[in-house]
Amino acid sequence: MTRRGIIFNIKRYAIHDGPGIRTTVFLKGCPLDCWWCHNPEGRNTDPECFGQDTGRDCLIGREVSVEAVFHEVCRDSVFYDQSGGGVTFSGGEPMMQIGFLEDVLTACRREGMHTALDTCGYAPTEDFARIAGLVDLFLYDIKLMDSDLHRKYTGVPNHLILENLHYLSGNGNRILARLPLIPEVTDTDENIAAVAEFMAQNKALREISLLPFNTLGRDKFRRFHLPDRMGTPRELSPERIERLTESFHQRGIAVGTGG
């Protein structure tokens, strides 16, 4: 009996989700409710119909077997081998389907494939313990250091997220922190300084990607008739990004953008 999971997309030639050329598998379901969510269609665990889109595009999410996902991911092995790439699991929050995720990761690992997990970190620590040895790189979101604000903008407090981060770094896992730069929410001087300080305290956290806010999510809110809580935020100037980058550099943390 093989486990089955719900995914809502498999993207090939993903070049922003870890090293090299990758295939990113999007697992459905997320415990967070971020105001700026790029993939609102990935929040609910079950397949669902969105908006008025025509025909087959309407139903988002499908049930798949571990073998089917593994087979699909293997299709681009030649590109992974050439580029040092591999597979990335994203979502949604892949940890929501921990059993399925563990099985697919195991299959990929058996094949010698490089594995990355894009996670918000909000899952039981014992679940992270199950997959920690199967993941080569964690793409780990750090959004807001103030737990109240975290709860306001994502729906959950941040204690568990930071706890899991400690666990994984203590476990020797490679972690690339990712911070979505949401104007006036996460990109405030206070939050940036707090994130940088938090990372400086943990020797395993030496790099962070700053992800500038884009309007992709807003297009989806419109398409799917979802409320848009973001409004029209001010634009992030290159100078501002430069200044934020400097806050990390001062503490010896490498910064990438857009990755």
């Binding site: 050329i21 025909g55 087959r56 299709r75």
Partner: protein, 787 residues
Amino acid sequence: MNERIRKLREQSLSAKPSISLERARLLTSFYADGQADGTSTPVARAMALSHILSHKEICINDGELIVGERGPSPKATPTYPEICIHSEEDFTILNSREKITFNVGEADRQVQRDEFIPFWTGRSMREKIFASMSDVWIAAYRAGVFTEFQEQRAPGHTVLDDKIYHKGFLDFQDEIKRSLERLDPATGSEAQAKKEQLTAMHIAADALIHYAERHAGRLDQLAVTEVNLDRRAELEAMAANCRRVPAHAPKSFWQALQYYWFVHLGVITELNTWDSFNPGRLDQHLYPFYRREIAEGTLTDQRARELLQSFWIKFNNQPAPPKVGVTAQESNTYTDFCLINLGGVKPSGENAANELTYMILDVIEEMRLLQPSSMVQISKKSPDRLLHHALKIIKTGYGQPSLFNTDAIIPEMLRQGKDLIDARNGGASGCVETGAFGKESYILTGYFNLTKVLEITLHNGVDPQTGKQIGIATGDPSEFTYFDELFAAFRLQLKHFIDIKIDGNRIIERLWAKHLPAPFLSLLIDDCIANGRDYNDGGARYNTSYIQGVGLGSVTDCLTAIKYHVFEQRTFDMNELLAALDSDFAGYETMQKQLRHQTPKYGNDDDYADDIMRRVFESYFLLIDGRPNTKGGHFRINLLPTTCHVYFGRVIGAMPDGRPAGEPLSEGISPVQGADRRGPTAVLKSAAKIDHLRTGGTLLNQKFTPQMLESDENLKKLGHLIRAYFTMDGHHIQFNVVSAETLRQAQERPDDYRDLIVRVAGYSDYFVDLGVDLQNEIIRRTEQGVG
């Protein structure tokens, strides 16, 4: 670039292409005066070339360092009435059409009408060809099943190797003498024919030496009156160059370039070889001169760069000769398909990239000219630096250079029976065609419309556009029970038309060999001198005839749709499908949507569709590959469209892939426009299911928006993407890096975008010079990285 180059470049860009009747006048007077009477055909051809080169106007542009123009001035383009005759109407169209215009003077129009048309009518190759073709050939040709290259252009597809950098034309004449001495009189007429051929080559060699001397004489005169002492010294040096080459082997970098340029002019004055002749592996040929002169201190990088830039401008000054007949209404192109090869491997098999490779890439980037086109050969031994450097230029959106896989090109040639060293010294030319440079005549004979053959199959041998039975009766498809029955019918129909095409080609090859030999080109390609045979008559070491398959993606998607919907899912039956096609989907919009969007498609790494592509490929390959031509060589296939997929689409009605009547077909081996929905890796996986090594070249177009290539990191990933494709034996890939939005703006405001060059097929062209169909198609081609 310095001031001199800036001015020459500006002159080249602003010169209006025009028709020059100088060549036609000299050629006509040569034959009309009876100078050819009593001589053999090859000797007459060589004497005609000599007459033209002895009397044509010498053009030396202000400030230039490399001399020689095909016409009396930059972009003055000759006609070739011995091949095809422009009618008065052709000239009117050329002069007045919106795109790719050629100025034609009123006086010239009159001379054409009163003298040249009457003289050449009945003598031209085009007339001879059409008079010699069978009725079935004519019917298939008119229906658009295939085209025929040699009805308007000479079978000149070849590229030069390194021989001219070691030998002068006087050395070639010595070789001719030795070949003459070896003739065995006992063979009678054969020895006589070889003697005539070799004599003609000797005359042709003299013709070019004399032509260079005429330039030297003019340069002397200019030097005497030149007041600027620096320029005077240059003019004197140039005169000395023209006395040294082509008679003798070149001694300097400068002379090497000047030598090649004279040779180029000789080839394109003798005949209008399409897919034009070019120096091939330029970074390899020039490197010994460069190394030696840099070491000796007689050349600086700056000067080398300036000379290369001058060389580039010479190519841009020579637009492709315009076509005759109905096709004159089409916009066509100014580009003559000179494809300079960089990188690759040395004869020893080592990586060949050197300092000059990178310098030439910089020249390409800086000059941004339509011609010559350029490509980089990437082998597994090529450094990443080379690929990355090429990608940085590609990223600027200029469409050059294209990228080729040396590790596919070499085995392609070995499979065709070529020597390993010849293969390593070879490359690709024209669009993507594989060839052994300096040793092979590899003729493109015409495009073949795979999708049209399916349309005819679906109508039991009848062309539904005309109602005429032009194919064979392969059965009423509504009576087929299995998909394999349909495929068998398609294959029979395919064989029928390929046989017609090959029969025609064999006749056409003989016509060219008999009436229009090319003694000048024969000097340059091994082993014409040693064999005493003309290039057009099998004199070359290797003789290949290509038939270029077009619409592989389209025909695959059509067959896939029929298999899926009619024979397996039974979404509708054959009669319903045929009724929908006959009505161009009017009233069948739902069916059209299903065909387009709910059907497996080639280009998505989906074996359902890709397996059918493989079957089509195998059939096309097996029906053509290895069949003998009349020159001791064989027919081979390659898969490239140039712009023919637009014409071929126009002659086909609605098809089962959901494509409405008249729309362009897929181009090269690219998926049908917009059918690939799974990103570039899926396209490359599908394309790699073609056995590239059994072709003589395939063309894959990929469009990227600039955003995809913004960072160095992304550019590196693109490099990995290409390396992976080449690992899977992919032959070639090229990129358009533009946004659809930019292209739409360019369509609306062409004046603001006259400099926008895009990849069309195996070449780049000015976007605003393309017809609106082609413009729309380029916009439609799947954009990667959206969403």
